[in-house]
């Protein structure tokens, strides 16, 4: 798309949810239901070592003793965990060794999603791991990255090729028993990405995973683990879409980040799972646990999320700031329209001295949707000189939606300083009139103003995705302006 096209024009050309198509491909499915045999089945499919199977089973047994959390401000019918397939994979005779061997139907799917996987067509400077239902189907630029010492592959592959690294870090940030969904994920996770950036290397490419749920009646339980060794840097982006269906589907992912001394991880998400239709039928339940451990001195983790999809979102990307001078940042744009519900925010746990955190959250509620920012800032007694700054702004569009702000701020150190500000209002009529007077139509005017409202967050995205995200912001609000 030519860069000259204005956002407004592009918005018109796009369908409301252009990723709603389905790929017809032969799929291998595990039988419906969840039990130890299914877990053994998944583990066997992935040819996993014994320790991992044991790890999964232990998590499963613990999960059986847990109950679903109910504290979030989201409402949905009880999920029947037995009524889903926990493994779905495109049937391939032999595992593809290179992109040339990948089923062309799959390549076409990703092309349609705007993610060409053939390297000559792919975005230069962005390596992609494509996860289709339960398996990673392709990873681009793998060779080039390997030469530099960067490991970027499916986690199932990493289990085989780098067992020591995986065993050392898996579950070290989000232990299996952390919460109901993380525990479920630990038992049944299928695929996801693994990244290891060696000491001192600034990974020159953006790494990206594109998650696609295709099969009906499945859940997606990916697991991502990113380790940045001393002085290393990586920028990682995940995107997600799913076909338009009337049934709800569960997505319960776990993402663990580990930043060692002087390491920096930038993790960006553009979450655009199918949100359900205007009446609230269908859509993804997005129950995700994302957490970063800033273990090293001067380490830094930056979460950016643009959340426009899913019927229900429950997600709190967090930072445990252990290392002295470590920094955690959370930038979020969440847009809910129609009947969507989102309960999202972050946790910043300050443990080390002079740790700093910054939270910028922009919530936009429209239609009949409900959105909650839920955040925790905790300053532990040892966190001398810790600093937190939080800014949460909510914009309400229409008088049938809800916007809620629920921050928890716990301070146990007198030398720490925390600042929290939150506002809620609707789009100013003065701004709207100003835009209309200059000839913009109301929908474009709202798109423009909302993009301005989100600017501070959107500009933290890698350039390649910032434009896409801006368009997404405008599209997500379509139909919300009367």
């Amino acid at each position: 798309m030519a860069a000259t096209d204005s956002t407004a024009q592009t918005v018109k050309e796009l369908e409301r949810y252009k990723y709603g198509f389905e790929t017809n491909i032969e799929t291998e499915l595990a039988p419906k239901g969840l039990n130890e045999d299914i877990i053994r089945f998944i583990s066997a499919k992935k040819e996993e070592p014994e320790w991992l199977l044991e790890w999964r089973l232990k998590a499963y047994r613990q999960w059986l003793t847990m109950t679903e959390p109910t504290w979030a401000n989201v409402h949905y019918p009880t999920i029947d965990f037995q009524d889903a397939h926990y493994y779905a994979a495109p049937r391939q005779k032999v595992a593809p060794k290179s992109l040339e061997e990948v089923d062309p139907e799959l390549l076409r799917t990703y092309e349609k999603l705007g993610i060409p996987l053939r390297e000559q067509e792919a975005l230069a400077g962005v390596a992609v791991d494509a996860v289709f239902d339960s398996v990673s189907v392709a990873t681009t630029y793998k060779k080039r990255l390997e030469e530099m010492g960067v490991i970027f592959c499916a986690i199932s592959e990493a289990v085989k090729k780098y067992p020591d690294l995986v065993r050392r870090y898996l579950g070290s940030v989000v232990p299996p028993g952390d919460n109901f969904y993380a525990c479920l994920n630990s038992a049944v996770f299928t695929d996801g990405s693994f990244v290891y950036v060696p000491k001192g290397l600034r990974c020159p490419m953006e790494l990206s995973t594109y998650f696609r749920i295709n099969e009906k009646n499945t859940g997606q339980f990916e697991r991502t683990l990113i380790v940045c060794d001393d002085g290393a840097y990586v920028s990682y982006l995940e995107g997600c879409t799913a076909p338009q269906r009337d049934e709800n589907q569960l997505h319960a992912a776990v993402v663990e980040l580990v930043a060692l001394d002087d390491a920096e991880i930038k993790y960006s998400t553009v979450q655009n799972w199918y949100p359900g239709d205007a009446k609230g039928k269908g859509g993804i339940y997005n129950f995700v646990t994302k957490r970063a451990a800033c273990r090293g001195r001067n380490s830094k983790v930056m979460w950016t999320q643009v959340e426009t999809g899913s019927a229900v979102t429950w997600k709190y990307p967090s930072c445990i700031l252990q290392g002295e001078n470590s920094v955690g940042e959370f930038y979020s744009v969440a847009i809910t329209n129609n009947r969507q519900q989102a309960d999202t925010g972050t946790k910043m746990i300050h443990i080390g001295k002079n740790t700093r955190s910054k939270i910028i959250s922009k919530g936009i509620s429209a239609g009949y949707s409900d959105q909650t920012y839920r955040g925790l800032v905790r300053i532990q007694p040892g966190a001398d000189g810790a600093r937190n700054f939080t800014q949460c702004d909510s914009l309400l569009i229409g008088d049938q939606c809800g916007a809620h702000t629920v921050p928890y701020i716990e301070t146990k150190n007198p030398t720490a300083r925390t600042e929290h500000e939150a506002t809620a209002s609707r789009i100013s009529e003065d701004q709207l009139f100003y835009c209309l007077q200059r000839g913009l139509n109301p929908e474009d005017a709202v798109g423009l103003i909302v993009n301005g409202f989100c600017k501070e967050v959107l500009q933290t995205l890698p350039m390649e995705f910032a434009v896409e995200a801006q368009k997404l912001v405008a599209i997500s609000l379509e139909g919300s302006v009367g």
Partner: protein, 436 residues
């Protein structure tokens, strides 16, 4: 968690003061049932997340005796607010002592002051309708317990259009019995008629000794009524004080509240304010200081249930030693409440290691044409300001005291009336003196 002794004492109180009115008797029973069913709140109750009351289960409470000595007033006076000219009503262990009160307080034109039991005897239905229901018994165990014990306390009614020229000062004195923990559960009903105005001052004081004061206030403001409500919590260092206030504010009425908390081992204020008619306004400002062994919790819920209402809440706290401060504030804007203006601010100063503050300001908004905000900040004294003062020749302690005083006085400025402001700043000053 069950707290047997609280139940036993309350049951005894019920037996000792039978009510003839069936509705109120039923309400009492409802309260007792709710309390026994739910027991003491634990930290899994969101609203009690930061305040532990489970140790109450270990205490053996007795009913507070009717204490006779006039001496109690002298001790209390040192702790209470000093507002010259205010008409004073003294309540010892929840019971009005006319012998110790200003006689004029009971005979003002347009202002009726009765003990709760007299008010019930005169018109039980009127008392019943004055009891708020915003703090539902099932969710508020201490309100349930207080309701179960309903008999001690006071009813103040200001007739329509009456402009009370003199403030009323309620001096609550908790007088423990040596060697035992007393339970005091008074109830205060305040009804301000249409277009009427009153300034109500409350000082909670107490003598040394183990006690639990569980006080509930029900406040009703009719259209265009105005209540200036100043409260001081300055109980003894062992005292536990749980207060709950539910206020219903009608069209055009203004509730202007300010609470200062300085004394008490455990002080918890539950504030529930409902803005029920256009133009209603609530201010819930306050300041607190907590040193070693003190826990001060303000939990508020401001419900915008009508359009064009305003609420503002600024609370500042100073935490010293191992003192702990809690602020949980929720502003709820219902779908009908367009044009709401709601603002909330909490600032805390931590003076020492071991001090802790937990803040949870919360906005729940269901209308779009609103201006709502909240802010929260915690930190230590500003080093630059300290240095500035020292560069002007002040010693470090004086400089710190001055800054702390300034930090708290700043919020007292929100009280419009000067004598009231002076009374509050005098107490803050007294606290600072006692600290050094």
């Amino acid at each position: 968690m069950t707290a047997l002794s609280l139940v036993t004492v309350t049951e005894a109180a019920q037996a000792a003061t039978p009510l003839t009115d069936a509705a109120l008797t039923a309400l009492r029973n409802e309260g007792l049932t709710a309390f026994t069913a739910h027991g003491l709140p634990t930290r899994t109750h969101e609203r009690w997340k930061y305040t532990r009351v489970s140790p109450l289960a270990e205490v053996s409470f007795i009913a507070a005796p009717a204490t006779g000595d006039a001496d109690v007033v002298r001790t209390a006076e040192g702790q209470a607010l000093d507002v010259p000219g205010a008409l004073r009503l003294v309540l010892v262990n929840g019971r009005l002592r006319t012998d110790l009160s200003d006689a004029a307080a009971l005979t003002q034109a347009g202002i009726s002051v009765q003990t709760l039991s007299d008010a019930i005897a005169a018109d039980a239905a009127a008392v019943r309708s004055g009891l708020g229901q915003a703090l539902a018994l099932a969710d508020n165990p201490f309100v349930a317990l207080n309701t179960a014990a309903l008999s001690d306390g006071l009813v103040i009614r200001v007739a329509a259009t009456t402009q009370a020229s003199t403030p009323l000062h309620l001096l609550w004195i908790t007088a423990p019995t040596a060697g035992a923990a007393v339970l005091v559960q008074p109830r205060l009903l305040v009804e301000i008629g249409r277009g009427a105005a009153l300034t109500l001052i409350e000082s909670q004081t107490g003598r040394d000794g183990d006690s639990l004061t569980n006080r509930v206030s029900d406040i009703t403001l009719a259209d265009d009524a105005r209540l200036t409500h100043i409260s001081l919590h300055n109980d003894s260092r062992q005292a536990r004080l749980l207060t709950a206030l539910q206020a219903r504010i009608q069209r055009g009425a203004v509730y202007d509240g300010f609470a200062l908390t300085l004394g008490g081992a455990l002080v918890r204020a539950d504030l529930r304010v409902e803005l029920l008619g256009p133009g209603a306004e609530a201010r819930l400002n306050g300041a607190y200081a907590a040193g070693t062994g003190q826990h001060v919790d303000t939990t508020s819920f401001i419900d915008h249930a009508a359009p064009h209402c305003t609420s503002a809440q600024t609370l500042k706290g100073v935490l010293d030693g191992t003192g702990r401060g809690v602020f949980q504030g929720r502003v709820n804007v219902r779908r009908v409440a367009q044009k709401t203006d709601g603002h909330q601010l909490h600032k805390a100063l931590l003076l020492s290691r071991g001090a802790e503050v937990d803040t949870k300001p919360e906005l729940t908004i269901f209308a779009d044409d609103v201006k709502c905000s909240h802010g929260a900040a915690t930190g230590e004294l500003d080093e630059d300001a300290l240095f500035y003062l020292r560069a002007r020749g002040l010693d470090a302690d004086t400089a710190r005291s001055l800054l702390i005083e300034g930090f708290l006085d700043d919020v007292v400025e929100l009280v419009a009336d000067e004598p009231l402001r002076d009374a509050l700043t005098a107490k803050i000053h007294q606290w600072l003196e006692s600290r050094s």
